[in-house]
Assembly symmetry: C2
Homo-oligomer: 230 residues x 2
DNA sequence: TGGTGCTGATTTGTACACAACATCGTTGGC
DNA sequence: GCCAACGATGTTGTGTACAAATCAGCACCA
């Protein structure tokens, strides 16, 4: 696969993955190859190429005669993914870190501004988008491509589940506001570390926040078990 | 994809990946979809599904009108992959380690025996196979699936290149014997650590050996640049 | 002699028809 | 009324023909 075909593949792949992460395609949703083929004005074949990759990476599961379903993750698997993600987070500052230039520093400052605006007018959707943009900005701090790739995998797998439980339909408006507050602190801390070029600190701060984020998620899940109907 | 289709997919995928890692398909080799289809008694379609995954994971590169070529890796990319691999190696003992039972301990002891036999009658092929088996045995020490998956990716990507340069046609018989010697020490050390259930030590020993292995690789590459025809 | 364009062969990428399979409603027997 | 078998419908998996792209060889000309 090369040239134009490759470009189209990447375009569709990135778009579908984003839809999954932002919960436009929530866990359990059924996709139809033919619908996607029509949307992207092609046949099923190239679509199936994309879906195959998304399935290999664990976002989807195709079942013969039924459809391709967006996966959900049980809390046990999520814990495994999170533990690894915590470890990898720290490596941003240790493996081939890129000294941030003025543009990069401005970009982090801009993130903080967006986040402050979000605190004033909370929105689940805007939060999800900001969270994702911030992640991608973080990734520009290392030039270690395998680390980038694996971090992306872990990010997309965990964040969509986290988003669903912490700030989605399951959660209240208070939990959304609370999570945005925590996120503002993370962005502020990291922006400050970037501003003085302390990339190792960036990794450590990120690591701490990812770990805390998961701890809150588990705590909330525990409450549900106690109070919930299930 | 499910049931029988899934099983066939996994079978072909695993086999082809092993061929790539063991250098049956050396870097630069061109594969033909139709040949593979014939070998596995099916059409191009399921084969393409496998090749797509191998391409996504970086082992192959399909070029329209040319063929699918086994990839090579430049020393710079290899360095990035190795750095990450060094970090992940240590995590075996830290993320959901599984306390080895008697069978597991025997398996590690058996590896040591095989390795000692290999010292007496060196063989590039047998070394490659043993190295791979040992890796898979190591992976049984953690139940963290994402860690297993990522470790596998990094292992297969680096080992085939390492094997080619350190013990393949490029290397002399002395380097092969030397590498087998180093490997015996690694296997011995790790088997000892496993025997007393010190999984954290297993990770640290492994980390050290992976790092040293890459250091030797780079040193040898440096010599080539000085002495070689290129 | 060297270079340039063409043509045929080869190989991957795409489209489409059909097979395999799962689901659900219906119908018949009891 | 209930349950089981069956068929209709919808969806993914497979096979195959064809399109698109690359490359090597060769003829042809300056």
């Amino acid at each position: 696969m090369t040239g134009e075909a490759r470009a189209r593949f990447e375009r569709i792949y990135t778009l579908l993955r984003e839809r999954i992460c932002l919960l436009d395609y929530p866990p359990g949703m059924r996709l139809r190859e033919e619908d996607l083929a029509e949307e992207f004005d092609t046949s099923r074949t190239p679509i199936r190429r994309v879906l195959a990759r998304l399935e290999d990476e664990g976002y989807l599961r195709s079942v013969h005669g039924v459809g391709t379903i967006v996966t959900d993750i049980d809390i046990a698997s999520l814990e495994q993914v999170y533990r690894l993600r915590v470890e990898l987070s720290e490596l941003i500052g240790k493996l081939s870190p890129i000294e941030p230039d003025e543009d990069a520093k401005r970009a982090f400052a801009g993130m903080k501004t967006r986040c402050e605006a979000l605190v004033r007018t909370p929105s689940q959707r805007a939060f999800a988008q900001l969270n994702m943009d911030f992640f991608h900005l973080l990734m520009t701090l290392t030039e270690n491509e395998p680390l980038q790739e694996f971090s992306e995998r872990l990010y997309y797998q965990t964040t969509r589940i986290w988003l669903k439980r912490a700030a989605g339909e399951d959660g209240t408006e208070e939990t959304l506001a609370s999570e945005i507050g925590f996120f503002l602190r993370e962005v502020s801390d990291i922006a400050a570390a970037v501003a003085c070029g302390a990339l190792e600190s960036v990794g450590q701060i990120r690591r701490a926040h990812v770990a805390m984020s998961f701890a809150r998620l588990k705590e909330r899940a525990g409450e549900e078990v106690e109070a919930g109907p299930l």
